[in-house]
């Protein structure tokens, strides 16, 4: 049995420039991503279910998610400089939200200002793209998209990828007499993967 079916990532793009919206949409679609493009931070927040329709002030208190969100968003790519709320404001709102903070955010800007870049990265942005964005930049999105997807489904992939972390937990709970391999892993139809005490993975079939 296969693990994940072919993923179709959904990216939310935010830019007040129509030309740049068209461009980023095309760049993302060419890279086989689903795209929703909006022209303001308030529209983005509405789409994400973080805003009531009548609350568009940047100073309004945090509102618990509406769960109006129709589609899961796997990554947000936003322009920095926009009238009204900026891309930085959007980044902050996302990272402050318990339901959305794991969505990777990428910032775009036409200006190369190191303090601005650092500020965004410090606030939790994954990448900073200098405009005009190019096809080659799209490759830089992939690792963040995969990481974002699997952060939400930790039980399968993470255990296999972090044997040392698990080992620490195992060691802490093992008594001296215990010699049997501790079960922690993945069951597929006919096979089982076991993590041993020393952190190595054993593979058994037809159990």
């Amino acid at each position: 049995m296969g693990m994940a079916t072919e993923a179709q990532f959904h990216v939310l793009a935010v830019d007040d420039s129509l030309i740049d919206r068209k461009l980023i949409e095309r760049l993302l679609k060419t890279s086989s991503y689903q795209v929703t493009a909006v022209d303001s931070v308030s529209k983005a927040l509405k789409f994400l279910g973080l805003l009531e329709d009548d609350q568009i002030s940047p100073n309004s208190p945090y509102v618990s998610p509406n769960h109006n969100q129709e589609m899961e968003v796997n990554l947000i790519i936003t322009d920095y400089c926009m009238p009204g709320m900026t891309g930085y404001d959007l980044l902050k709102r996302i990272k402050e939200s318990s339901s959305l903070k794991n969505i990777p955010v990428v910032i775009m800007s036409s200006e190369n200002v190191p303090s601005r870049i650092n500020r965004c990265l410090d606030e939790g942005a994954e990448e900073f793209f200098l405009k005009p964005v190019q096809l080659s930049d799209m490759k830089r999105l992939q690792p963040h998209l995969w990481k974002g997807k699997y952060k939400e489904e930790p039980h399968q992939l993470q255990q296999l990828q972090q044997p040392h972390k698990k080992r620490k937990a195992i060691e802490e709970s093992l008594s001296i007499e215990r010699t049997r391999a501790r079960y922690s892993g993945l069951i597929t139809k006919n096979n089982i993967l076991l993590e041993q005490e020393d952190g190595s993975i054993s593979f058994f079939s037809h159990i």
């Binding site: 420039s17 129509l18 030309i19 740049d20 461009l23 095309r26 760049l27 405009k131 005009p132 096809l135």
Partner: protein, 156 residues
């Protein structure tokens, strides 16, 4: 006969593109626009460039209206228009227009109205040249597409 026309037209287009690159009017980002055009989005370049024309003319009008006002002092607003023009020009690979916007912005930051008026004239001139050349490109492309269609029909 029309089949040969296709090759000639393609050569004409490449020659015009080479000239525009050589003159610094266009840069690689224009080529990227072409790369993004495919069967799923066959008119992408044409659509984006038309949006660019529409927006640019609006911005140029706004700039002229601002500067024609003898009591003009809102250089900040001018800066906002110029940033927008710079950004969109940069995005489609209109290098020379973008560079003129950059110089114009520097002049406007000095609150120099006469300098701004001169810069606006240069900008309008550069934009006009770009628009004419892009229209020429589209015209050649359109002819090439039609010639290719006829050629294939004759071969049936």
């Amino acid at each position: 006969m029309l089949g040969l026309g296709v090759d000639q037209l393609r050569a004409d287009m490449n020659q015009l593109l080479a000239l525009l690159f050589h003159q610094g009017v266009l840069d690689d980002h224009f080529l990227q626009l072409q790369q993004l055009q495919d069967v799923t989005s066959p008119n992408f370049v044409y659509e984006v460039v038309n949006i660019y024309f529409h927006e640019s003319e609006k911005l140029l009008r706004n700039l002229r209206v601002l500067l024609m006002d003898r009591d003009f002092s809102d250089y900040k607003k001018m800066g906002i228009h110029l940033n927008q023009f710079m950004g969109s020009s940069s995005s489609i690979g209109a290098k020379r227009v973008r560079n003129v916007c950059f110089a114009f912005r520097a002049v406007s930051e000095q609150n120099n109205r006469a300098g701004c008026l001169r810069a606006l004239e240069v900008l309008e001139h550069e934009y006009c040249y770009l628009k004419n050349k892009l229209h020429e490109l589209f015209h050649i492309e359109q002819q090439r597409v039609m010639a290719a269609a006829v050629r294939y029909r004759i071969q049936d």
